[in-house]
Each structure stands twice: as structure tokens, then as C-alpha cells.
């Protein structure tokens, strides 16, 4: 992201996740204002604003001191003046657009307090113009110094010291007066600082959206749907080797959605992209998709990857169950969550695993929890929606595909699937990946053995 100021960076990092539709909409409206300008003739003005944003200084500390009624030093006053001037210039640039990008308070009064000679340059000191007394004393000091230089024996240093200390006193008084005059503007300054930081962030968001082809999502009341959703990071990596990322369409309701499919068919990426889009929306960004209607949630619960840890005393299964437990509890409490689980219960024996998957799915369905579960298990609860990744749909000549080009032959799109059995592509994929063919041969033989038959019969019996 192209943030121009440290201030902007901090604003972005401090931004909370938004849960209210109106909050999200507000932020997206602002981003949209800039986004629409970027495509038009006035795009150059945005670059000018960015240049100004680069000059913004973080004066939080000085404002705090001002609010506490403390007297600021020359350097702090310089920084406040410099900020007020930049802020004013940004305001003027904004005026050239039809709509206001963001409300920034007019700090002209602050500028005039710190610019008694009306120079409008970003430099500061306690100007002579502030006080006639000060101007007078300074002049006297100068004359006295010149006289001392011309005639060192005639004058003593005492006069000079007295004058200098008087000058310092007057300066201090003037400084205190300046700070008193600025005091009422402290909250406006704070507001301006905040708004300018916000402007930096929304500009960066808009530019990000434009460069990565993100779009503005609509907030939905019922379910979530994406058209041509993609994972921006993976897409960029693929582009480096001149490959394309196949964007996919997906619709989710407030219920369970299973995703099955061969290995390497992109199921985990789908989950990660769903999580990414949800977070992006709720932090006020545009999303990586051609169009999107997204339901807002209070939490996103994800279980992808292995949290096995000898340190915590948890095995793969245990750590997964802990996560699933959190999800189930949230579901039972009827919390508004998005649940994403990769290969639920793969960490234990298939019979119990499948039972767990169905149990969890039942609970999610009962509580209308927006959830996506990927799995390899067959015999899933038929009441649940099932999507399948197409995968290696066609027939290929042996040796045509290998582990380096397998991604080019994959069809990553999702189709609704009613079949009770999941695709059995594992051995086929393993073969393509170049795994030692002994494994493939022996495994294939095992599938045809009598025990294999028995298991199959059981499968079909219990899930009709």
C-alpha cells in the first residue's frame, strides 16, 4: 500500500474492524470518491495530494501539550505551523474536485496566529511583529553589541547580559501568549490531523483497488456471493511466470457448504480467499472480485493447517478439536460468524472422522451459521450443500501432465454436486506428481481387495 506518511501508517494499523453496515458503507463511500477520480482527468490532482501528504508531520505530542495548557517551544510551534500550512494546501487541492474527499477543518486562524508577518512560509520564530517591546529590546541588543565591538573597553558586559535576559523574558511572555491563543484550536488541530491521516489511508486504499482490480462489495443481508473472486497474492506470483489465476464464482448461504474435490484443486486457497475478502471488506477496502455481495460478520473463525505443538502438549487432532470447539460454541450461541474449515477431522480415523464432520455440519445448519468445510470424506449429510472443484476433468495422455504443469490443466471452478461420493483422485494426482509408482500400483491393488469391498458396502448401507 502506498501510504505517504508515518501518520497514515499508524492510522491504518489502529483502525478497528467494522461490524456495522453503515460504518463500512461510509468508509467505502470515501474510498469510492477517490477511486472514481483516479480513472478520470483529474487523476493528477491525487498525485499532488499525495505529495502534500508526504510532508505531513505527526504533531500528536505537541497537540497533547497544547491541550494540557503547556507552553510549547519554537520547534513545536514550527511543526504546528508547518502542519497547518500543509493541511490548508490539501484543502485547496480538494476544492478542485466536485465532491469533498474528506472534511478537513480550516486552520487559517492557526496559521495567522503563527504567521504575524503574513509570509506563508513554513518557518517559525518569535517574530518581532509579535511585540513592540520585543522588537525594541532586540534592536537595543544589536546596537549595543556593535558598539562593544567597535569600542571594547568602553562598555561592560553587564548591560548586555541585562538586556539579553530581558529579551528572553519578553520572548517567553510572547510565547505563552501565542500558546494561549492557540489553545482553543487544539481540538481542531487534532481533528485535522486525524482527517489528514484518514485521507492518506483512503487514498492508498483507492490506489490499491485500482492497481489490483478490486471492486466495491455490496453489503448483503442474506448470504454471501462472489463472482470471479481471486487471491491477489497468488495471482501476482503466477503472473511472474506468465500464468493466469482462474477466478471462481461461489455462493454461500447461512448454512453449511461442503467443498470436495481432488487434491491440488485449490480448496484451501478458496478458504483463504474467502477469509481475505471478508477482512478486507470489514476494514473498509475494496475486494478482489468482479462483483461481490457480502454478509457482515462479528468474527471470522478459521481452521487451516496444523497447529500441532509439543510445547503446548497438543497433537494435530487435539489442536484441531480445540479450534472446532470454539466454532461450535459460537454457532450454538447463535453468534454471527464466518466459519472456514479445511479438511475437517482429517487428523483421525476415517470412520469417526466422517461422523464428526456430519455432527459439526448438523450443528452449523441448525444454527444457520455461514460456514464452509472442505473434506475428502464420502457419505456426507445429504441435507448439506455440496460444491465440487472440477479438477482434472478431462482425459489426458499418460505423461502429458507432470508436477510442473499440473496447475495449467486444473479447472478450479466450483459446481454443485449431489453425488454422495467424493471424487477419488488421490492416486491419479500422486502419479502425476511423480511419486514412486510402486506406491500407486500397490495402492490400486489394495482398493480392489476383499476388505476394500467390505468397507464400500458399509459405506453405502449407512448413508441412504
Amino acid at each position: 500500500m502506498q501510504l505517504q506518511s508515518g501518520l497514515g501508517k499508524r492510522y491504518l494499523l489502529d483502525m478497528p474492524m467494522m461490524y456495522q453496515a453503515c460504518e463500512v458503507k461510509n468508509e467505502l463511500d470515501k474510498v469510492n470518491r477517490i477511486y472514481s477520480i483516479l480513472g478520470g482527468k483529474k487523476a493528477g490532482l491525487i498525485t499532488k495530494i499525495q505529495t502534500k501528504l508526504m510532508q505531513v508531520r505527526d504533531i500528536k505530542g505537541s497537540i497533547k501539550n497544547l491541550k494540557a495548557n503547556m507552553v510549547l517551544d519554537d520547534i513545536e510551534l514550527f511543526e504546528i505551523k508547518s502542519f497547518a500550512l500543509v493541511s490548508y494546501e490539501i484543502l485547496q487541492l480538494q476544492a478542485e474536485f466536485e465532491t469533498t474527499l474528506i472534511e478537513i477543518p480550516d486552520l487559517n486562524s492557526v496559521i495567522s496566529i503563527l504567521d504575524p508577518e503574513n509570509n506563508k512560509i513554513p518557518s517559525f520564530y518569535i517574530y518581532d511583529a509579535y511585540s513592540r517591546e520585543l522588537a525594541r529590546v532586540r534592536k537595543e541588543i544589536k546596537e549595543l553589541k556593535a558598539a562593544i565591538k567597535a569600542n571594547p573597553e568602553k562598555h561592560t558586559d553587564q548591560n548586555l547580559e541585562a538586556l539579553q535576559s530581558h529579551s528572553e523574558e519578553v520572548e517567553a511572555e510572547v510565547r505563552a501568549e501565542i500558546c494561549e491563543k492557540l489553545y482553543p484550536y487544539a481540538s481542531e488541530l487534532e481533528n485535522a490531523l486525524n482527517q489528514v491521516a484518514h485521507l492518506d489511508v483512503i487514498t492508498a486504499k483507492a490506489i490499491l483497488a485500482e492497481s489490483m482490480a478490486f471492486t466495491r462489495a455490496q453489503i448483503s443481508e442474506s448470504g454471501t456471493e462472489y463472482k470471479a473472486m481471486f487471491h491477489p497474492q497468488i495471482r501476482e506470483t503466477l503472473a511472474l511466470s506468465k500464468r493466469n489465476f482462474q477466478p471462481i464464482n461461489i455462493r454461500l448461504n447461512h448454512s453449511v457448504c461442503f467443498i470436495t474435490g481432488a487434491n491440488m484443486a485449490g480448496k484451501t486457497v478458496i478458504l483463504k480467499t474467502l477469509a481475505l475478502c471478508q477482512y478486507l471488506l470489514q476494514f473498509g477496502f475494496f475486494v478482489p472480485a468482479q462483483s461481490a455481495q457480502i454478509a457482515l460478520v462479528d468474527r471470522i473463525l478459521v481452521s487451516v493447517g496444523d497447529d500441532q505443538s509439543e510445547q503446548n502438549g497438543l497433537s494435530s487432532f487435539a489442536s484441531e478439536m480445540v479450534k472446532i470447539n470454539e466454532m461450535v460454541e459460537a454457532s450454538i450461541q447463535k453468534e454471527i460468524v464466518l466459519v472456514l474449515v479445511d479438511e475437517l477431522a482429517r487428523t483421525t480415523n476415517p470412520t469417526e472422522g466422517r461422523a464428526i464432520v456430519n455432527a459439526v455440519a448438523e450443528i452449523f445448519n441448525e444454527n444457520q451459521t455461514l460456514s464452509v468445510i472442505t473434506t475428502h470424506y464420502s457419505g456426507l449429510d445429504s441435507r448439506c450443500r455440496k460444491l465440487r472443484v472440477k479438477g482434472l476433468d478431462k482425459e489426458f495422455k499418460p505423461g502429458e501432465i507432470n508436477k510442473n504443469n499440473i496447475n495449467d490443466y486444473m479447472d478450479y471452478s466450483l459446481i454443485e454436486d449431489d453425488a454422495t461420493k467424493v471424487p477419488h483422485e488421490a492416486l491419479r494426482i500422486a502419479g502425476i506428481l511423480g511419486i514412486n509408482h510402486q506406491i500407486i500400483e500397490k495402492a490400486n491393488k489394495n482398493l480392489l481387495k476383499p476388505e476394500g469391498f467390505e468397507i464400500k458396502e458399509e459405506e453405502t448401507k449407512s448413508y441412504i
Binding site: 520547534i75 510551534l77 514550527f78 520564530y125 553589541k145
Partner: protein, 337 residues
């Protein structure tokens, strides 16, 4: 004094003392007072801290630097707060030094200020180029040759050396030592192309082979040369050393058979920490040293008084120095008038 005219030709000038109490600050004050009359915009800073009221080590009175109305100066926040003169803040740096951020200000009256500028070469170079934004014609840098400083005054175009009795209470010795520094400053620079390629290299020892390629010898410094002696000349006889050159290193090189073909390249003359004897012996045997950054020495200032109170004969010293260096030499105490 004629050397002021000479100064005005350069964009940056450093005033460097060979030893503490050699009159560097008096020299700087003199230069500033003379430049205050000129129409040029002057900027002033220092490498690291300077301007202590009394020299902590020797307890001799150290005057602070006198800044004139209209001059731009760059000092740390800490010292800016303590100033007595009236000054207009022009800029505050975003980076911090150990004494706070650097404040660039324009003096609105004349008075003494403590100047503490950036401490690294990169920072000083940046500062000098930033001064262009304020229409500065010449930047003066109060320099230091101490080993503790990361910044080398050789980043400026020109230099004035301050030397004196503090370095040695014996005139021939003093001339000899000063002449040594002068010879180092006069070392030839490498060609522009090599300079461009070597400048960004921040550490280690590299060789330049016959085809002109740069090869990292993977020797961290000359202090670790013991273990790597055999590797040193495998790739050629032109060696670039990033860090310091020591007596030990030069002595090692001196006894090599192919000494006449050896060329050592250093960043600038301040990286040579060898004694004059070792250095001259190395040169006599046919070795050569070149620098990346060369600065021009335009004058030498002498302070005949040592911190112990010993006073050398000013005229004698001045004459001996001028004869040896063939450069204008000025007595700082006489300059003040």
C-alpha cells in the same frame, strides 16, 4: 586574508583539528566572521558534538562557535533549546541523533551557539545537499579526526587543518606530524569509474582484478589479516579496504616481493591509522595508496600555545610550516585581529 577568497570557490568546507586544543574553534570563528560580510548564504554544522564550554579533558577554556545574523545553522534539538540567539526554525529532521532531531535554523541575531550535527558520512552528505533547498552557497563543517566519529570530514570539497603545540611542543616534530597528515590528504583519488563502483560497498576487503571486476575477498578487516594472508593477492594487486589501515597491515605489505605493484584503495585519508614512519617506509618500498574521496587542503592554522601553557615561537613555527607544506599558514591568535 586571501584564503577567504579561496574558500568561496567551494560548496563545502570542513575545519579539522589534528588534536584537541589546536585552535580549531578559533579558526572556525575567524572564517565565519570573515564570511559574515560576504553576500553568500552560509550554512554551518558539525560532525558529532562540539562546543563544550570547557574542554572536559584539559580544562582549557573552549569558546563556542559564533554564528552571525543571516547564517543558517544545523544543530541538535538539545542544543537548539539552549541557544541564546534569536533564530527562525526552517526545518526539523525526521531522523534522530543521540541528542534528538536536527534543527535547521536561520540566525536572526548574532551569538554563540553549540553546534552538534549529524554523526555519519551519509547523513552529512545528505545535509550538504539538502542545504541547496535553502539557497546555501557554502556549508561549513566543524570536523573531527577522532576515531570515534563515524563521519569523515573528507566528505567536504575543501578543508582547513588546525594544528599546534597541543600536537607536539617541538617545532620539527610538529611540522613533521602535520606534514604527514598533509601528505595523506594529498593522496591521489582513483578514477571516477572505480569510485562509482566502490563507493556503495560498505564493508570488507575487495580486490579489483585485471579485467576490472570487483571480487569480495571475504576478509572482514585488516585486523583479521593473519588468517587470510594467502588469500589477499589471489585476485590481483589492487585491493580496496573499507575500514582502517593499520601499522601492522602496512608492515605486512611492505615485506611482500611484489610491493611495487600493490595498490591499496581506502575511502578517504582518515582511514589511515598508521604512524608516519610506517607509512613512509611503505611508500619508499614502492607501495601506493589511493583514495575514493579526496578533499582539497587550502590552508593550515596554527595555535602556538599548548594546553600545558607552553608557548612556541609563532614566527618560527609559521615559517617552518610554510617551508615544508608550501601552503599558507596562519596563527589563529593573530587572525582575531
Amino acid at each position: 586574508m586571501p584564503f577567504i577568497k579561496e574558500i568561496e570557490k567551494y560548496k563545502s568546507l570542513s575545519i579539522v583539528g589534528l588534536e584537541k586544543n589546536t585552535g580549531k574553534t578559533e579558526c572556525l570563528n575567524y572564517v565565519l566572521s570573515r564570511l559574515s560580510d560576504s553576500t553568500k548564504q552560509i550554512a554551518l554544522t558539525s560532525i558529532g558534538v562540539d562546543g563544550e564550554n570547557t574542554d572536559v579533558v584539559t580544562q582549557t577554556h573552549k569558546p563556542e562557535i559564533e554564528v552571525y545574523e543571516g547564517m543558517i545553522f544545523v544543530t541538535s534539538e538539545l542544543h537548539y533549546q539552549k541557544k541564546q540567539l534569536v533564530a527562525e526554525v526552517l526545518d526539523v529532521s525526521t531522523q534522530s541523533t543521540s541528542l534528538g532531531r536536527l534543527v535547521t535554523a536561520k540566525a536572526k541575531s548574532s551569538d554563540k551557539v553549540m553546534i552538534s550535527g549529524p554523526a555519519s558520512n551519509v547523513a552529512i552528505k545528505d545535509l550538504i545537499s539538502q542545504m541547496r533547498n535553502f539557497n546555501v552557497d557554502i556549508t561549513l563543517v566543524d570536523g573531527a579526526l577522532s576515531r570515534k566519529s563515524l563521519g569523515s570530514p573528507a566528505v567536504t570539497d575543501a578543508m582547513i587543518l588546525a594544528t599546534g603545540a597541543a600536537l607536539s611542543a617541538n617545532i620539527p616534530q610538529l611540522v613533521y606530524k602535520t606534514n604527514y597528515t598533509y601528505d595523506l590528504i594529498s593522496l591521489k583519488a582513483v578514477d571516477d569509474e572505480s569510485k562509482e563502483r566502490l563507493l556503495p560497498i560498505q564493508k570488507g576487503i575487495w580486490a579489483i582484478n585485471d579485467e576490472g571486476n570487483l571480487i569480495d575477498l571475504e576478509i572482514e578487516s585488516v585486523l583479521l589479516i593473519e588468517k587470510a594472508k594467502d588469500r589477499l593477492f589471489k585476485q590481483g594487486n589492487r585491493i580496496f579496504v573499507n575500514g582502517a589501515i593499520t601499522d601492522k597491515f602496512l608492515n605486512f605489505l611492505r615485506v611482500q616481493k611484489h610491493i611495487k605493484e600493490i595498490e591499496i584503495i581506502v575511502r578517504d585519508f582518515t582511514r589511515i591509522f598508521a604512524s608516519p614512519e610506517t607509512y613512509y617506509a611503505f611508500i619508499k618500498r614502492g607501495g601506493s595508496i589511493k583514495v575514493l574521496q579526496k578533499t582539497k587542503l587550502i590552508a593550515v592554522c596554527i595555535n602556538p600555545v599548548s594546553p600545558d601553557g607552553y608557548c612556541l615561537n609563532s614566527d618560527e613555527l609559521k615559517q617552518a610550516m610554510e617551508d615544508k607544506l608550501k601552503l599558507p599558514v596562519y596563527d589563529v591568535r593573530k587572525l582575531a585581529n
